[in-house]
C-alpha cells in the first residue's frame, strides 16, 4: 500500500491561514489503512484546526468528507455539489489523490495535508515499512525476493557494501542491511550460486523515462 504521514499541524495552519471555510477531504484506501488520512484522521485534523482558530479569535468553518478513493473521478465527483461553497480543499489522500482532486477542480485551491512517503507493508500494528520504489522493472526473482532498490540505502545491485555490519546497514543501526537479507534468503532457498552472477547496470527507463509513467490496457478501454 501507499504509506504517508500527516503534516505537522503548524504547517497546515500556515497553509489555510487566508481561509475561513474549508473542506477536509479524506480517502478510504491505503491512507486510511496507514492511519494518516481516513475518516478518523479527517475528524482529528478538523477539531485541531477549529480549536486553534478559536484560540486565535478567527473562527473557521470546516466540512469533513471522506471519499471511497481519491484517485478516481467517479468518486471525486461526489464533492461536486458542494465544493464551491469552500474556499479551499485540504486533501488527506496520498500525493496522487491530492493531485487528482486538484485536476478535477482546476479553479479550486487544493492543499496537501499528507506527506506521501513510500510503498510498504504493515510490520505490526502502528508500524509500516518500505518495500518497493516502483522502479518498473522488478528484479525480485534475482535477489531472493528482497528489493535492493528500495531496501538498500545505496540501491546496490551487487551488494553488500563494506559498511554492512552484524546484519545492519551502515546508515542506521536499526535498519536491516538489505544485502544481508538477500544473502540469507538465497541461502535458505538454496540459490546462493545466484549471488555469483553480476547484475549489470540497470535500465532505469521504466522508472525515470521522463514525465509521469502511463499504463494502458487496450482491452479494458471503452473507446
Amino acid at each position: 500500500m501507499i504509506v504517508g504521514n500527516r503534516k505537522p499541524l503548524e504547517e497546515i495552519q500556515e497553509m489555510i491561514k487566508p481561509y475561513k471555510k474549508i473542506l477536509i477531504l479524506g480517502c478510504r484506501e491505503c491512507i486510511t489503512v496507514c492511519a494518516a488520512g481516513g475518516e478518523r484522521e479527517v475528524a482529528v485534523l478538523a477539531s485541531e484546526l477549529k480549536l486553534s482558530r478559536t484560540k486565535e479569535g478567527r473562527e473557521i468553518e470546516i466540512k469533513e468528507f471522506t471519499l471511497e478513493r481519491q484517485c478516481d473521478y467517479e468518486y471525486i465527483d461526489q464533492i461536486k455539489p458542494f465544493v464551491d461553497e469552500y474556499e479551499a480543499v485540504v486533501s488527506m489522500a496520498c500525493g496522487a489523490g491530492i493531485q487528482y482532486t486538484a485536476e478535477r477542480f482546476p479553479q479550486k485551491i487544493v492543499l496537501p495535508a499528507i506527506n506521501t512517503t513510500f510503498l510498504g507493508v504493515t510490520l505490526e500494528q502502528g508500524v509500516w515499512s518500505e518495500r518497493c520504489q516502483g522502479c518498473g522493472d522488478c528484479v525480485l526473482h534475482l535477489t531472493g525476493g528482497i528489493c535492493p532498490v528500495a531496501r538498500c540505502a545505496k540501491s546496490l545491485f551487487n551488494g553488500p557494501c563494506g559498511g554492512s555490519s552484524n546484519g545492519k546497514c551502515e546508515v542506521n543501526k536499526d535498519t536491516d542491511c538489505a544485502w544481508q537479507l538477500i544473502v540469507d534468503r538465497l541461502k535458505t532457498l538454496g540459490q546462493l550460486d545466484r549471488y555469483e552472477d553480476i547484475i549489470p547496470a540497470k535500465d532505469w527507463k521504466p522508472s525515470r523515462e521522463g514525465g509521469p509513467r502511463v499504463r494502458i490496457r487496450e482491452d479494458l478501454r471503452l473507446d
Binding site: K154, N166, E170, Q180, Y195, I198, P200, A201
Partner: protein, 306 residues
C-alpha cells in the same frame, strides 16, 4: 598493459606501497602539494579520495592532476554516489586523456555521513558495474550505452573490499565478482584483526583470486586508545580487537601515538608474510607525515624508480 607504475611493479613481483591523499576543503592547490611532498619517494602510487565520507572537497580528478605534475602516479578514486553513468564515463575519458593511469572503483559512503545530508544520491550504477564499465571502455572500446569509444581509456582497474564486513562468508565471493568484472588490484579496508584477515585470505586463495588480482593490504596507524575505541564502536564494518586497544591503553597518553606507529609497522611485517598479499596500502588520515616513517621502519624504502 597500461602505463601504471604499480601495474609495472606488480608484474615484476615487487611488493608495492600505496598511500592516500585526501584533497582539501577548498581550492588550495598548495595544500595538495604539501600532502604530496610528504609522500614523495615513499610510495609507488597515491590514492586520491573522492569526497570521502560524503564531505565536499576538491575533486579527485583535479587533485590527481596536481599530484601528477609532482611526478606521482595517482590512483583516481571514483564513487557512484554523486554521478550518473553519463558523468562517470565522461570523467573516466577525461582522466585517461590527462594521463591518469589508475582508477579505484567504489560505491561511496552514504551522504548522510557527510556535510550535505540533504543531498540526493545517485547510485545509478554500483561499484561492480563501475568496474565493468571501465573494463568495457578500455578493452572493448564501448560505452554502457553501446556507442564506440574513440581513444580508449587505458586504466589499471582497482577496487576496495572490506574483509571484516558482513556477511563474512560471501566476502571472498564478492571479490570474485569484482575480479570477474575486471578488477586487477584490490585495496582492503584497514586491517587490525590479522586472524580474521587470514581467514578471508584463505577463502581468496581457495578461489585463486590472489593470482588474478593483486591484493594490497590496508593499514591505518592508530593515534591513541581513544581513536581505536572510536573506530571499533563508531565506524561501520571496522574490526579492532580489544587486545590492541588494551595495548595502547597500557602506555602513557603521550606515548600512544608512538605505540600506534609501532603496531602499524608490526602489522605490515606480518602482512608481508601472508601468502597472496602483494603490497600494502597505508592510510594515515590527516597524519600523512608518518607514512614515510612507517614505510621505512617496515623495510619498504627506498622505492624503486618510477
Amino acid at each position: 598493459m597500461t602505463q601504471s607504475n604499480i601495474e609495472r611493479l606488480l608484474e615484476k613481483g615487487v611488493f608495492v606501497v600505496t598511500s592516500e591523499c585526501g584533497p582539501p576543503k577548498g581550492a588550495d592547490a598548495e595544500a595538495v602539494r604539501k600532502k604530496g611532498s610528504l609522500l614523495k619517494g615513499v610510495v609507488d602510487a597515491v590514492n586520491v579520495t573522492d569526497n570521502q565520507t560524503s564531505v565536499v572537497r576538491m575533486s579527485s580528478f583535479a587533485s590527481c592532476l596536481i599530484l601528477k605534475e609532482m611526478g606521482f602516479d595517482p590512483i583516481l578514486q571514483m564513487v557512484c554516489r554523486d554521478r550518473n553513468r553519463i558523468a562517470i564515463q565522461s570523467d573516466i575519458l577525461g582522466a585517461a586523456a590527462h594521463g591518469i593511469n589508475n582508477i579505484l572503483c567504489l560505491s561511496g559512503d552514504h551522504q548522510s555521513f557527510g556535510d550535505h545530508p540533504g543531498g540526493k544520491n545517485v547510485f545509478d550504477i554500483d561499484s561492480m558495474q563501475l568496474i565493468q564499465t571501465v573494463r568495457t571502455m578500455r578493452d572493448e572500446g564501448r560505452l554502457i550505452g553501446g556507442e564506440e569509444v574513440k581513444g580508449r581509456p587505458n586504466l589499471f582497474i582497482g577496487a576496495a573490499e572490506n574483509p571484516f564486513a558482513d556477511p563474512f562468508e560471501i566476502r571472498a565471493m564478492r571479490l570474485g565478482k569484482k575480479v570477474k568484472a575486471g578488477c586487477q588490484f584490490l585495496q582492503t579496508q584497514c586491517i587490525y584483526n590479522l586472524e580474521k584477515f587470514g581467514k578471508w585470505m584463505e577463502m581468496v586463495r581457495e578461489r585463486g583470486l590472489h593470482e588474478k588480482c593483486a591484493i594490497l593490504a590496508g593499514v591505518t596507524p592508530l593515534k591513541s586508545a581513544g581513536m581505536a575505541r572510536y573506530m571499533k564502536t563508531s565506524v561501520p564494518g571496522m574490526d579492532v580487537p580489544d587486545e590492541l586497544i588494551d595495548r595502547l591503553k597500557g602506555v602513557p597518553k603521550e606515548k600512544q601515538a608512538e605505540e600506534g606507529i609501532k603496531i602499524c609497522v608490526e602489522m605490515i611485517q606480518q602482512l608481508k608474510e601472508v601468502p597472496g598479499v602483494r603490497g600494502v596500502h597505508i592510510m594515515a588520515i590527516e597524519w600523512e607525515e608518518k607514512v614515510a616513517e612507517i614505510a621505512k621502519a617496515a623495510g619498504l624504502s627506498p622505492r624503486p624508480e618510477a
